[in-house]
Symmetry: C2
Subunit: 221 residues, 2 copies
DNA sequence: GTCTATACAAAGATAGAC
DNA sequence: GTCTATCTTTGTATAGAC
């Protein structure tokens, strides 16, 4: 009962993502990936050129997951949503794509620096697009006077996206669900860790309606 | 002109830390480390049991750098410093230890997950001590009513330390010195990324006096 | 203390049968 | 499409000369 080729390709990528995320790139062997996918090492080369191509595909899928989730949440907002709501939606989308949508994003975060330059190059375009998505959003916030002015936008983006990536290391869905985590992280990045007597402390925004994938609008670019 | 043994040990560790930080653990070979240290691969085994021991030592040194820097700044504070000043000092200390004090901390951040369980075990105690340092500080802040109450202290610590670690990926000392970066990051983590019309916006705290190492007090534990 | 030489294991990748 | 078998390279680690 051999799988059709495209399905097996997906199997291999899924297995690779899980192993990359847990063990790192160099520590994961093609033999392990093959075993997890239910085939032998040699068979991988029917589906991929080699380890590099697998890495590039995993990286692409990782960014795709967060990009989708962020855009989905942004576009589900009412047209008159203010910048704070937009930023919160984007943060929540990033967390969602990262924590729920799979092991691809975790793998991305962990292996990006260590794959071959060739694999990184192959993946570069899709990664830059995600960077630009955040830069645009933050730029709008800055123009609206919502952002602190002592930190340049690219640095806010680097700090923010970096900070958002850490929960993959310690998030445990068994205590406190995703919505709670999301509200906590959003509060931390938007308002900081100090208590703020003045703050309205508006409770967690209502969970945004989750649209079917086919329903969301096309990418802006 | 062979070096005395302890000096060569240091050379090897420094070379290993640099390479680990840049390439990751599994991608760095003993041959590379040896070459960077000016010896041959076989000679490493006169100084270390193997790659594992090198890893454990690099990890230890990385935590030691930030621990020292954080405690130094905390103890340099005036006795009546408020919690905000204490938190800011600790943040600045972490950044200083991480960015200025060397490649050991960068290496720590990058390889911790990927070294052998044996090496991690060897290093565990010193790492837990640093975790406890932050937990104690944040606990004090929480007791003083300074911390937001919707996020438990251990989670604040995980998020905070994680977020503080990212600048190793992108900090460039050539544009904006360390003091500026430190003030920016401190602002981001304490007050968040949004502008805050009400906020006093007290300009960067005056740089804390930098004490000689011998002058600082002993560890609390 | 460091060298050369090498043992030994494991990795990525290929060839050709089925 | 997947298998088995194997090539080639490279890594950690050891042995013994100097």
């Amino acid at each position: 009962m051999t799988l059709p080729a495209p399905a097996m390709r997906g199997q291999i990528l899924a297995a690779a993502a899980r192993l990359f995320g847990r063990q790192g790139y160099a520590n994961t062997t093609l033999r392990q990936i093959a075993q997890a996918a239910g085939i032998r090492a040699g068979s991988i080369y029917y589906h991929f050129e080699g380890k590099d191509e697998i890495a590039a595909c995993v990286l692409d899928a990782g960014i795709a997951a967060v990009t989708d989730a962020v855009q989905q949440r942004l576009q589900a907002l009412p047209a008159d949503a203010d910048m704070r709501a937009r930023l919160a939606a984007a943060v929540e989308g990033h967390l969602w794509g990262m924590l729920q949508c799979g092991e691809f994003t975790a793998a991305h975060i962990r292996i990006y620096r260590y794959v071959s330059e060739a694999a990184r190059q192959r993946h570069r375009a899709i990664r830059s697009a995600y960077t630009r998505l955040w830069d645009d959003l933050l730029r709008q916030a800055a123009d609206a006077g919502m952002l602190r002015t002592d930190v340049p936008v690219p640095m806010v983006r680097q700090f923010l996206v970096g900070a958002l990536n850490w929960p993959v290391d310690w998030y445990d869905p068994r205590r406190g669900g995703f919505d709670q985590l999301s509200a906590q992280i959003t509060g931390l990045v938007l308002d900081g860790m100090l208590s703020r007597p003045v703050r309205p402390m508006r409770a967690a925004r209502p969970a945004p309606p989750r649209r079917a994938r086919a329903e969301r609008l096309e990418l802006a670019r």
